[in-house]
């Protein structure tokens, strides 16, 4: 075979192609120009030009969440790198595989406060799984290979590669070789659990009276949905998913009690509180789940499966710790469960109890049928309407706030990777660029971004990117003319003192705004018009539609866990609560 001679910039793009990357999101600038020139001269990797580097990271992130493959972005040094930080932190908190390539000033200028210089290695250090500063152009292919391996294996996460400009010089060629193997010293990965652990877990599972399966983002990341469904059926007990885990167990299944946690359903939180065995799968007992950890699951033994040993016994001490890949460990458990003499009928009364809790205070699914005085639209109704119009099959991205919780509660996800939101970092502005990433990955699927008028304005410039690439995303804007979640907290904890949540007089005309980018804008103010508008929005297959829905500005998200309480202590509405 003839030798392939490449520059550092060419090697970088060629290595991405060899890593089966066909799309990257980015924004050019001085320090990255050699790399952009290499992009121009090939056709294996498509570059998507966003309007802000934050959007590049979120789009790559959305792509990764929807496909399970790593997302890739490319930014320049200085402001390009710092603009990418929010997106890197978002991916880090939700364990999303991302490879972020940042241009850097030439080697000889590093440390001189050169134009557009920033210490990307230093700035990104606490929010990356790992990072590389390229020191020789010849090492670029190996670094790319390592970066993809680190980003995608074990507990996934973002990896930064900082590339000084002189190392991508088109005039300095070297022989390109993409490595077939790589060597990482002491890089521990956890795969299957020990047999003794499996036996111990199955002993606890079969001896329990009130078990609950609690599955999170790690279950999605390890593609464990099928195994967890089988496990759920073998157990016949209640199953709950975290905000990050929605879809990993089908919401339409009778054993599914909904999301748990701060805005989880009454029945899910009650099940967690009363359970005598909590089986955590790829979930990390974070503070939005446990409420007060000292009052969490006091009646329950706990089994914890996680690919990251440092997640185990971090917040909650567990009885059986299983470090491994959730998909493989659940397979092991299923196999063992099937081999022991065990009748899951004994959990029937417990399952029945969960259904009684649902009947008592479950989410109100009849809202669409209820007469609503004054034709006011409740935000929950918008989500229900979107669910209906898409037959529950759309990819749904969201931003952060009330609309995110309403979407999580009322759009019932039956498959993993369909619900795409920033759970850990809680990044407003995530929804629209993430939807772009999903749409690039699945051009024939329906992609909706359920957002609010606060969040959408944080990355609204991406309407331009959507126009350039013809991305017919459906933006469902729950417009309550205020920062709803902040307002809710101000209502509940600050005596209704609405500090800095209102911009009513200065909101843009979203219809005109959408139209100015060449999209379709629609406005709905009356409940009686909602369904028809929603149908029309999704029927316009080739157009991005900005559906601006005026919703009740005073609605709160319920249930809501009482701060510092246990999981049974919830506000259920503005007038009802479960505690004194």
């Amino acid at each position: 075979m003839a030798k392939i001679m490449t520059s550092g910039g060419e090697a970088l793009i060629r290595a991405l192609a060899d890593e089966n990357v066909d799309i990257i999101f980015g924004y050019p600038g001085g320090a990255a120009l050699h790399i952009y020139d290499a992009i121009y001269q090939q056709d294996r990797v498509q570059h998507i030009l966003v309007r802000h580097e934050q959007a590049a990271t979120h789009a790559a992130d959305g792509f990764a969440r929807a496909t399970g493959k790593p997302g890739v972005c490319l930014v320049t040094s200085g402001p390009g790198a710092t603009n990418a930080i929010t997106g890197i932190a978002t991916a880090y908190m939700d364990s999303i595989p991302l490879v972020v390539i940042s241009g850097q000033v030439p080697n000889h200028l590093i440390g001189t406060d050169a134009f557009q210089e920033t210490d990307m290695m230093g700035i990104s250090r606490p929010i990356v799984k790992h990072s590389f500063l390229v020191q020789k152009p010849e090492e670029i292919p190996v670094i790319i290979k390592k970066a993809f391996h680190i980003a995608t294996s074990g507990r996934p996460g973002p990896v930064v590669i900082d590339v000084p400009k002189n190392l991508t010089d088109p005039n300095e060629k070297f022989e390109y070789k993409y490595p077939s193997d790589l060597y990482l010293r002491s890089f521990a990965l956890y795969d299957e659990a020990e047999n003794s652990e499996v036996k111990q877990a199955v002993k606890l599972l079969t001896e329990a009276e009130r078990p609950v399966i609690y599955a999170g983002g790690g279950a999605v990341n390890s593609n464990a949905a099928e195994e967890i469904y089988e496990f759920g059926k073998l157990m016949g007990c209640p199953v709950t998913n975290t905000l990050m885990g929605l879809g990993v167990y089908p919401a339409s299944d009778e054993q599914f009690v909904g999301m748990l946690g701060m805005h989880g359903t009454y029945e899910a939180n009650m099940v967690m509180h009363e359970a005598d065995l909590i089986m955590a799968i790829g979930a990390r007992f974070d503070d939005r789940i446990t409420n007060n950890p000292n009052k969490f699951g006091l009646k329950a033994k706990k089994i914890h499966i996680d690919s990251d040993p440092s997640s185990i016994d971090k917040i909650i001490d567990v009885d059986v710790a299983m470090t491994g890949n959730a998909k493989k460990v659940i397979s092991q458990i299923n196999k063992e469960l099937k081999s022991v003499n065990f009748d899951n009928k004994k959990f029937d009364p417990w399952m029945k109890k969960a259904m009684q809790w649902r009947a008592k205070h479950g989410l109100n699914h009849n809202m669409l049928d209820q007469k609503n005085p004054g034709d006011i639209i409740l935000p929950q109704q918008v989500v229900q309407s979107a669910y209906k119009a898409t037959d529950g099959k759309a990819f749904v991205t969201s931003d952060v706030g009330q609309h995110q919780m309403f979407a999580a509660q009322y759009y019932h996800f039956n498959e993993p990777r369909k619900w795409i939101n920033s759970g850990g970092l809680g990044t407003m502005g995530f929804g629209l660029p993430a939807a772009m990433g999903v749409k690039f990955a699945f051009p024939d699927e329906t992609v909706a971004c359920i957002t609010g008028e606060g969040s959408i304005q944080m990355c609204i410039q991406e309407l331009s990117t959507c126009g350039q690439y013809g991305l017919p995303i459906k933006i469902i804007n729950l417009n309550n003319r205020a920062l709803g979640m902040v307002k809710q907290w101000q209502d509940m904890q600050y005596g209704g003192r609405y500090s800095s949540i209102s911009y009513e007089d200065s909101l843009p005309d979203f219809i005109k705004l959408a139209e100015s980018y060449g999209h379709v804008g629609m406005k709905v103010e009356k409940l009686s018009e909602l369904e028809a508008a929603m149908e029309e929005c999704f029927a316009l297959k080739d157009k991005l539609v900005f559906l601006d829905v005026y919703v009740d500005p005073d609605e709160h998200v319920y249930p809501m866990l009482k701060a510092g309480g246990d999981m049974s202590e919830m506000f259920l509405s503005k007038t009802e609560k479960t505690f004194e």
């Binding site: 250090r125 606490p126 500063l133 193997d181 002491s186 890089f187 040993p309 440092s310 016994d313 971090k314």
Partner: protein, 170 residues
């Protein structure tokens, strides 16, 4: 007090990841010593974490998770040797220093002296050194520098590295 021994890749940025982890997770490092080993691709650190109630297992797991960290060991849970070097400069004559040190067992050596000052080193247990320093507070104290605790396990076992993990692709 916990002493942690750690082997990491001898690469730029590796140390900042280890140090950064402590501030990021809200832990304090009391002392730290770092230098390359006989294998120049590896650096060895000994860290002392004095904090009461710090979740040492969580710290060890977080450290081991860093890609540049090759091996971590809690020396406080092993049968280990620990040692610290301090160099002290006092406004005192050599003879006075001798009497100050007479109740201590550690190795000592005068490094520099004149009529009105003495520079000496002591080599010994960290707690002993701290005891001496607190006693010296009432003297005319010019300067002290400490190596931080160094440590390794007793016996013929070493903080061995795993072999390079080969990751093959088909």
């Amino acid at each position: 007090m916990n002493h942690i021994a750690l082997l990491m890749e001898n690469q730029p940025g590796a140390l900042s990841r280890v140090i950064g982890l402590f501030s990021q997770r809200g832990y304090n490092i009391d002392s730290l010593s770092v230098a390359p080993t006989q294998d120049e691709t590896l650096s060895r650190l000994t860290m002392t974490i004095g904090e009461e109630g710090a979740d040492i297992n969580q710290i060890l797991k977080q450290l081991y998770k860093l890609v540049d960290v090759v091996m971590v060991q809690n020396l406080s849970e092993a049968d280990a040797l620990t040692l610290e070097l301090a160099i002290i400069k006092l406004n005192k004559a050599k003879t006075e220093v001798g009497s100050l040190l007479k109740n201590y067992e550690f190795e000592r050596e005068i490094l520099d002296e004149k009529d009105n000052f003495t520079v000496f080193k002591v080599l010994g247990d960290t707690k002993e050194i701290e005891k001496l320093l607190s006693e010296l507070k009432k003297e005319e104290f010019l300067e002290v520098t400490r190596s931080g605790t160094l440590g390794m396990t007793k016996g013929n076992e070493s903080l061995a590295t795993n072999d390079q993990t080969k990751i093959s692709y088909d």
